[in-house]
C-alpha cells in the first residue's frame, strides 16, 4: 500500500499539486485520471522520488519515503517497477539485455539464472522470439510489453504505469490493460496507472482518483464513476458520445 499525505508541489509561481492525499491499495489497479496538464505525471514523479514534493509525506507500507536518506530510498526503488509512456527501453541494448539489466545490477544471479528469469518475464507478457532484437526493431505494443517485463523482472512490490496506452491501437491497449491487471493480482502488487484513456478506466479501474487543477477532485471506482454528479469529472469522463451513451444505458 502507498499512502500519499498532503502533497504539494510548485514550479516557481505555478502550483501544480495542491494538498493531495490518497491511499493506493495493494493487489489493486489504482488509476489516476485527469486531463493533460492537471498534475498526474508530477504526482507520480513525486511518489517515485524523481521529484521532491514541497510539502507532504509519501509512505510505502509504513516506510516514510520522504524522510528517508538517499541510501534507504535506493532500496525502496529496487522494489519499484515502472512502465514509462515512451517505454524508455535502453536502445543500445537488445530486448533480452533490457530485461536482464535490473537483474544484473541488483542481484547475484549467474547468467543461466538471469536468462531463465528474463524468459519467464517475457513469456509472462506473451513475448517470445524477440530476445535478440533491439527496441527499434519491434512495434510500439511490443515495446510496452518489454517495458512491463523489465518492470517485473525484480519481482517488485509496486508497479507504476505512465499512460501505458498512449500511441497504441485500441486492441493492443486492451491487451496491455489486461496484462497490467493480471500481473497486479498475480504478484499482489500495488499498481498505479496514470491514464486519460476511458477504455482503461472502464476495463481495469478498481480504484480511481480524478485529478483536477492539481487537486484530488474525486475518488471512486469504475461503477461509481458512471453515477457521479461531480461536474468536472462528468465533463472529463463523458466528453465522448460513446461514454455519454454508456451513461444513459446505465
Amino acid at each position: 500500500m502507498i499512502e500519499v499525505k498532503n502533497i504539494s508541489k510548485s514550479f516557481g509561481e505555478k502550483h501544480v499539486l495542491k494538498n493531495i492525499s490518497a491511499c493506493f491499495e495493494r493487489g489493486k489497479t489504482n488509476l489516476i485520471i485527469g486531463a493533460s496538464g492537471q498534475g498526474k505525471s508530477v504526482l507520480t514523479k513525486c511518489i517515485v522520488g524523481l521529484l521532491e514534493p514541497d510539502e507532504g509525506e509519501i509512505i510505502y507500507d509504513g516506510r516514510n519515503f520522504t524522510k528517508m536518506p538517499f541510501k534507504e530510498r535506493k532500496e525502496i526503488r529496487k522494489e519499484i517497477g515502472m512502465l514509462f509512456q515512451s517505454s524508455a527501453l535502453f536502445d543500445s541494448l537488445t530486448v533480452e539485455e533490457n530485461v536482464k539489466f535490473p537483474l544484473a545490477m541488483h542481484t547475484n544471479m549467474n547468467e543461466d539464472e538471469m536468462l531463465e528469469r528474463v524468459n519467464f518475464c517475457l513469456n509472462r507478457v506473451n513475448l517470445s522470439g524477440v530476445n535478440h532484437l533491439y527496441p527499434a526493431e519491434i512495434s510500439g505494443g511490443m515495446q510496452k510489453r518489454v517495458g512491463i517485463a523489465r518492470a517485473i523482472a525484480l519481482n517488485p512490490k509496486y508497479l507504476f504505469c505512465d499512460e501505458p496506452n498512449s500511441g497504441l491501437d485500441p486492441q493492443t491497449s486492451i491487451v496491455i490493460d489486461n496484462l497490467i491487471k493480471e500481473i497486479t493480482e498475480e504478484f499482489d502488487m500495488t499498481t498505479i496507472v496514470i491514464t486519460h484513456d476511458m477504455n482503461s478506466v472502464m476495463e481495469i479501474g478498481e480504484k480511481i482518483f480524478f485529478i483536477y487543477q492539481g487537486q484530488k477532485w474525486w475518488e471512486g471506482d469504475k461503477t461509481t464513476i458512471l453515477h457521479s454528479d461531480n461536474k468536472e469529472l462528468n465533463d472529463f469522463v463523458f466528453a465522448s458520445a460513446i461514454m455519454r451513451n454508456m451513461k444513459d444505458k446505465c
Binding site: V48, R77, L89, F101, P102
Partner: protein
C-alpha cells in the same frame, strides 16, 4: 548563469565519482567506451595528423629563405609543433567535436526518452553509470591516440618532404631527433589527460540536463562543443604556463 552551470556541473561530478553499484557492469561499459571513443576515432585522427604533419613541413620549408638555416630545421619544427601543440591540442579540439557531440546527444536522447528516469527508478546512480565509464575510458585511451597522432604527423611530414624533394630523409630524421627533450612528450600527455576529462565531462553535463525535445538535444550538442573548446584553450594556456615557463 556561469556560476549556476559551475555549481550544477560540480554536483553532477560529485554523483559521477560516487561508488559504483556493480563494478562488473562498469567494466563492461568501460570496454565499450574504449572501443567507441578510442578505436572509433582512429581513422579521423590518422587523417588529420598525416595532413597536419605534411602541411607543417611544406609551410616551414616555404619560410626558410636563408641558405644559412639548415634544412633539418624542417624536421625540428615539425617535431616541436606536433608534440607540443598540434597533436595534443588540435586533436583534442577535433575530439571535442566528434566524441563530445556524440556523448551529449546520446545522453540527451536518453534524457528526453525517459531512459535516465528509468535508471533512477531502478535505484541506479544514472550519472555514475552513464558518465564515469566515458571519462575513465577517455583518460585511458586518449594518450595512446595522441602518441599515435604524433607518429603519423611526423610520418606525414617526412613523406611529403621526400615526395616533394624539399628535404632529404636523413636531414628530416636528424631534425626530429635534434635537441630532443622527452619532457615535451610528458607535457603533451599531461595536457591530454586534462583535455580527455573536459571532452567527456562537459558534453555529458549538457546532455544530462537537457529539457525538451530533439531541438534541445541539438542545442546541447553545440553548447557542449563551444564550452569544451573554450575550456581546452584555457587549460592549454594554464598548463603551458605552469610546466614550460
Amino acid at each position: 548563469m556561469l556560476f549556476y552551470h559551475i555549481g550544477r556541473y560540480t554536483i553532477l561530478m560529485g554523483r559521477v565519482f560516487s561508488r559504483p553499484e556493480k563494478w562488473k557492469l562498469y567494466r563492461q561499459q568501460f570496454a565499450r567506451e574504449v572501443m567507441s571513443i578510442g578505436l572509433g576515432s582512429l581513422g579521423l585522427v590518422a587523417l588529420i595528423s598525416f595532413f597536419m604533419g605534411a602541411v607543417i613541413t611544406l609551410q616551414t620549408a616555404s619560410n626558410i629563405d636563408s641558405p644559412l638555416i639548415p634544412l633539418y630545421t624542417i624536421g625540428f619544427t615539425a617535431r616541436q609543433s606536433t608534440i607540443l601543440e598540434f597533436s595534443p591540442t588540435i586533436i583534442a579540439l577535433i575530439l571535442a567535436g566528434k566524441v563530445g557531440s556524440n556523448i551529449s546527444s546520446e545522453i540527451g536522447s536518453m534524457r528526453i526518452t525517459e531512459q535516465i528516469d528509468a535508471l533512477e527508478i531502478m535505484g541506479i546512480n544514472s550519472a555514475a553509470y552513464l558518465v564515469l565509464p566515458k571519462i575513465v575510458a577517455a583518460i585511458f585511451i586518449n594518450p595512446f591516440l595522441i602518441i599515435y597522432s604524433m607518429f603519423l604527423s611526423l610520418f606525414g611530414g617526412w613523406f611529403v618532404g621526400i615526395a616533394t624533394g624539399i628535404v632529404s630523409s636523413n636531414q628530416y630524421i636528424y631534425g626530429i631527433q635534434y635537441d630532443f627533450d622527452s619532457f615535451s612528450v610528458t607535457y603533451a600527455l599531461i595536457k591530454t589527460v586534462f583535455f580527455a576529462f573536459v571532452i567527456t565531462s562537459v558534453p555529458a553535463y549538457f546532455g544530462y540536463y537537457v529539457r525538451g525535445g530533439s531541438l534541445e538535444v541539438g542545442k546541447a550538442s553545440t553548447q557542449s562543443f563551444f564550452y569544451s573548446a573554450v575550456l581546452i584553450l584555457i587549460i592549454n594556456y594554464i598548463i603551458t604556463q605552469l610546466l614550460l615557463i
